[in-house]
Symmetry: C2
Subunit: 179 residues, 2 copies
């Protein structure tokens, strides 16, 4: 079976584990015959959105660009994994609607208390101190997905468990050949 | 033979026929088994570079973004055809170097007198009148490619002839299975 393209859209707080999960999944999907590109939030900002800030308008523009590229990739047979916070429900819906390939939204859920405690990049501390403005979860909203295809709880699951649940979903949906 | 991905990078003056040629080639390449995306200058500006102007810096940023997306597509087996003026040699070289798939630069050549006479979008007239600033060929430089893989002369050739020469090159290069 030739795997068809799809967009695996991760959304969740900074530090919830989106990039970790994306980087964990990418080689597994490649091993199983998929072409894979990870569109990581930071990398995409550097390449497509330099100069944009974190106002709602700029965030939306950034997300639209990621969605545009993910769509180009996925409709050409690639598995595009996006790993941007993408905090606003409306723009996630817009991206879902414009995507012509299959769109799988994955809510990478972790309680604010957990990600703030981890604070892997030291950003929450800066956000609490007001050094970083418009920080999702602290001074900017995160709108939880209500109909995500997959929800993973990274505060309770290992990355292998979360990845396994996503892979199972992709198999059930017929987007990935069963092992 | 499975066709591998490549970037077909068109460069040339506004009105030289880049988009026309791209739109002519796309269905032919699809018919011959390629996955094809046309990254047209105007469309890409709308989707990736809204807010950017036509200063050298902004043009370079726009071209880098097109190059980034073309690379993502081509390294995943797609034929990415870009149709932006891309007037500066240095940034074209930069994009060529970052592209991990095959990169084919096509100089879509037409004398300024010819494209100005055509003036399909009425832009040259506005540029001459000073209504549009930084207009390539009039008030902004166009740096001709010195080592383009293919040069087509749209002032003298039909679109079929130009397309035929590009297809022949792709066959010779082993990027397209011969008919």
């Amino acid at each position: 079976m030739q795997n068809s393209g799809f967009t695996l859209w991760f959304t969740g707080l900074s530090g919830a584990g989106k990039s970790t999960l994306a980087q964990h999944l990418a080689p597994i999907l490649r091993e199983r015959g998929c072409k894979v590109e990870v569109l990581d939030g930071d990398e995409v900002r550097e390449n497509l959105s330099k100069g944009l800030g974190f106002s709602k308008e700029d965030r939306d523009t950034n997300i639209r660009r990621i969605g545009y590229v993910a769509n180009l990739l996925s409709r050409n047979g690639c598995c595009a994994i996006t790993a941007a916070i993408s905090p606003y429900a409306e723009i996630r819906r817009e991206v879902r609607e414009l995507t012509t390939a299959s769109f799988v939204e994955v809510y990478v859920r972790a309680p604010l208390a957990v990600v703030e405690e981890r604070d892997t990049k030291g950003l929450y501390k800066k956000a609490r101190a007001g050094i970083i403005k418009n920080f999702t979860g602290i001074s900017d909203p995160y709108e939880e997905p209500e109909q995500a295809e997959v929800v993973v709880d990274t505060g309770e699951e290992t990355v292998e468990q979360s990845a396994g649940r996503i892979l199972s979903y992709l198999e059930e949906r017929g987007l990935l050949a069963a092992n």
